[in-house]
């Protein structure tokens, strides 16, 4: 179970998530067309929409309600109506409006679909009268560090980090709580030569090192979706990840120190680290969250490591500011480890005494049990003897 929580599950889940986004960009968004026009222009629009890689014309509806029902069922993300006499009215400069109905429920895919539909229709429209005339202003929108909008790079990397953030806390919870669960504190302390500091360090260090190495490996594997990392970037991100895992292991140990058992500390870890990704600002920006939530987000190690990772996308300018977040993570690690040491040292002491007490009681109980058994056996023997002698006496009398 330890290896499962420590290594196999975080590694497996991370690779799974990276593979989930292997298509890298959103494409084939299902849309519908209600063609009421039957003109050359309508055919041209339909063909252009069908040829667009982002869109997939999944349904050509006979009427609007057919497409509406498909949107309700989730089969279409959007549909457009090519209105009656569209071509004729366009040629008469009457600017017939093409209504585009977007579901809106799936924010991301809907945004992509609408943007693409707009671009296809406006390019066909501009070819109608002003084919030779170029657009005077061209706008190019560039996403710094992730120019193609690659989801493996944007969301995948963040999710991998979120998984290891959870793993760091959960593995520490498991490791620090199972001696309590199995009543083996004395055994562990004896193995550490009676030193609590040695026991604490012996638990934390291998955990952090194993998780750190696996996290760095998965991160490097995941990063292939983006531009290759430079050596400096690799060092900065790795240092940040190490600091994050130290903070997480400290927090996990402190949860065990506070609750004293595996079930409760796992629950606390789950409540805090489970939805951490939603609070860390990569999907919905921290600056748009309410103040109290922003404070909570600041307390999560995940927020800071995602900041370090995102700064690496900005090149040399980002590197200069990344260390600030790493320092915050190191302070967090220090705080949680100090708190965990204080609480766990107390709990270990109490548990050690309890275990000794139980053992003594167990011995006493065993002695009593043995005495009882011996007494029972003795009385049984004496009864048997008495019965036998009674029988023998009766036999003699009978004779």
């Amino acid at each position: 179970m330890l290896w499962l929580v420590l290594l196999i599950l975080p590694l497996g889940t991370s690779v799974f998530m990276m593979d989930l986004f292997s298509a890298e960009i959103i494409q084939h968004v299902p849309i519908g067309i209600v063609n009421q026009d039957r003109s050359q222009l309508a055919d041209e629009i339909t063909m252009a929409l069908k040829a667009d890689p982002v869109l997939e014309v999944a349904l050509e509806c006979g009427d609007r309600s057919e497409c509406e029902h498909a949107v309700v069922r989730g089969e279409l993300q959007a549909f457009l109506v090519l209105p009656n006499e569209m071509e004729r009215r366009a040629l008469r400069f009457e600017t017939p409006v093409i209504p585009v109905y977007s579901s809106g429920q799936n924010y991301l895919t809907n945004t992509f679909a609408v943007k693409e539909i707009r671009s296809v229709i406006s390019s066909i429209g501009s070819n109608l009268f002003t084919k030779q005339m170029e657009e005077p202003v061209q706008v190019e929108i560039k996403s710094v560090g992730n120019n193609s909008g690659n989801y493996q790079g944007f969301l995948g990397l963040g999710l991998v980090t979120a998984i290891f953030h959870l793993a760091g806390i959960l593995a520490a919870v498991y490791l620090f709580s199972f001696p309590f669960r199995d009543h083996r504190i004395r055994e562990f302390l004896a193995a550490a030569g009676g030193s609590r500091v040695v026991l604490g360090a012996a638990m934390v260090l291998p955990l952090v090192v194993i998780q750190w190495l696996s996290m760095v490996a998965v991160y490097a594997y995941a990063h292939r979706a983006l531009a290759p990392m430079t050596f400096d970037e690799f060092i900065i991100v790795s240092a940040g990840q190490l600091a994050m895992l130290l903070a997480c292991s400290g927090a996990g140990a402190a949860f065990v120190g506070i609750t004293g058992n595996m079930r409760m500390s796992s629950s606390v870890a789950g409540v805090i680290a489970g939805p951490a990704f939603a609070f860390a600002g990569q999907t919905f920006p921290v600056m748009a969250m309410p103040f109290a939530v922003r404070c909570f987000a600041f307390l999560l190690p995940l927020t800071h490591i995602l900041k370090v990772q995102s700064m690496m996308l900005l090149g040399s300018v980002g590197k200069a500011h990344a260390w600030e977040s790493i320092v915050v993570l190191l302070f967090m690690a220090l705080f949680w480890h100090l708190l965990a040491s204080k609480l766990l040292f107390l709990r270990w002491k109490v548990a050690e005494e309890k275990e000794a007490d139980w053992e003594a009681r167990e011995k006493l109980h065993l002695k009593d049990k043995l005495k009882n058994i011996a007494g029972a056996v003795a009385s049984d023997l004496s009864i048997r003897k008495a019965v036998a002698s009674d029988k023998a006496l009766k036999g003699v009398n009978h004779d």
Partner: protein, 396 residues
């Protein structure tokens, strides 16, 4: 018949009592469902990320560039906090996260446009924040393209000698009008939270069932009751009685989400009674039986929690709520068919968010019903096998 129901309800009541007396069960089956429903949506309480801090790098310094800057400052999506004259200043502000994007107005833009040339306006956004990328891009692009459109209309009017109105019609002869059907405000919480609520129901229910050992008899952790009559009822009574307790308990959660959580966070409630009842029945039976199957695998009570905490993220993304299912590798799609959430999340969105009637919803409810039957049979077999085995490890 009366005896049958009496025995069934006796088991159900004993199990339901356990939800409120066993600390681990209280946390998962009572507290988590309520806590998560309020805790998870809090980051998105402002619904949208409007007025994102941005900057303009003005290399032109003309009336036109100042107009463009002012137009950008008035855009709803963005808030122009700085106007820089050097691109490096903007890059530095981006790295410090003082801004999340900037627009570069090129040198001699006005001169080029007035001379009939073409100008390129570049918008840079922070690559780590895809949602802001869309907002900033739309905000700046709309303003820059308006400048372009005005210039083009002037060029058409002068070149083709037509009135301005006709020139405008020639520039964009087939305009589009976008109507958003179900999330008019583009609210992020409305997009994410309803799906997550279904996942919360599934995860807490499955882990809760596993923590209480499903339908097995003679549960080790129930020291004082492990030999009681209710605890060791005949297997079908145990299985269906405990399932009934979970079903009724989670029906109340669905009602709570529909009437309270949706109200508090102002999500649209379009669910009709009939499809909602249909959803509750097939979804809960599918998840309960899924939990009953899994609960026979674990030896310790907390193991399921440790495993399922890792699984939440992949399970959510497998449900077609954010990443289109057509883009998911085939083997993952196959695997996802084993999870109730894969069908339940789209079904819930269809019914509650988009107001589907029972016919539209049926397409998504059939696979859930099939899952319920499959897991029911498997659950009965596994519980029977588990009852017969004599495992000495663990606390279940």
């Amino acid at each position: 018949m009366i005896d049958l129901f009496k025995r069934l309800f006796k088991v159900a009541f004993a199990e339901w009592k356990l939800f409120y007396t066993d600390p681990a069960a209280v946390l998962l089956l009572v507290v988590a469902g309520v806590l998560y429903a309020f805790y998870y949506p809090t980051p998105y309480m402002n619904q949208t990320a409007s007025k994102v801090p941005v900057a303009v790098v003005d290399l032109d310094h003309t009336v036109m560039s100042r107009d463009l800057t002012q137009m950008s400052a008035a855009a709803q999506q963005i808030d122009v906090r700085y106007v820089f004259t050097d691109i490096r200043e903007a890059e530095d502000a981006l790295a410090q996260e003082k801004i999340y994007g900037f627009m570069v107005i090129p040198k001699d833009m006005e001169k080029t446009l007035r001379n009939g040339g073409k100008a390129n306006v570049n918008v840079f956004t922070h690559g780590a924040y895809v949602m802001l990328h869309g907002n900033i891009g739309t905000g700046f692009a709309t303003c820059a393209l308006t400048v372009g459109a005005t210039t083009k209309v002037k060029r058409i009017a002068l070149g083709k000698k037509v009135p301005a109105a006709k020139a405008m019609a020639m520039r964009d002869p087939i305009p589009i009008s976008i109507q958003t059907m179900y999330n008019n405000t583009g609210s992020y919480s409305n997009y994410v939270v309803p799906s997550v609520l279904v996942l919360i129901l599934q995860q807490t229910l499955v882990i809760g069932i596993c923590i209480l050992g499903g339908a097995r008899a003679h549960r080790k952790f129930r020291k004082s009751n492990r030999d009681s009559a209710v605890e060791n009822e005949l297997m079908p009574y145990r299985y269906f009685g405990r399932s009934l307790a979970y079903f009724l308990h989670y029906c109340s959660f669905i009602l709570f989400y529909h009437f309270v959580v949706y109200n508090v966070f102002d999500f649209p409630r379009r669910g009709e009674i009939l499809p909602m009842i249909g959803f509750a029945i097939v979804f809960l039976f599918s998840v309960i039986n899924f939990g009953m199957v899994l609960s026979q695998v674990f030896l310790r009570r907390e193991t399921s929690m440790q495993l399922f905490l890792y699984m939440s993220i992949p399970i959510l993304f497998l449900s077609n709520f954010s990443w289109p299912s057509d883009l998911i590798p085939t083997w993952m799609k196959g695997l996802s068919c084993l999870l109730p959430s894969t069908f339940a999340i789209p079904a819930w969105l269809t019914i509650e968010q988009r107001g589907a009637d029972v016919y539209d919803a049926a397409v998504l409810l059939y696979p859930l019903a099939l899952q319920a039957v499959f897991y029911l049979l498997l659950g009965l077999v596994l519980t029977n096998l588990r009852d017969g085995s004599k495992l000495k490890t663990g606390d279940m």
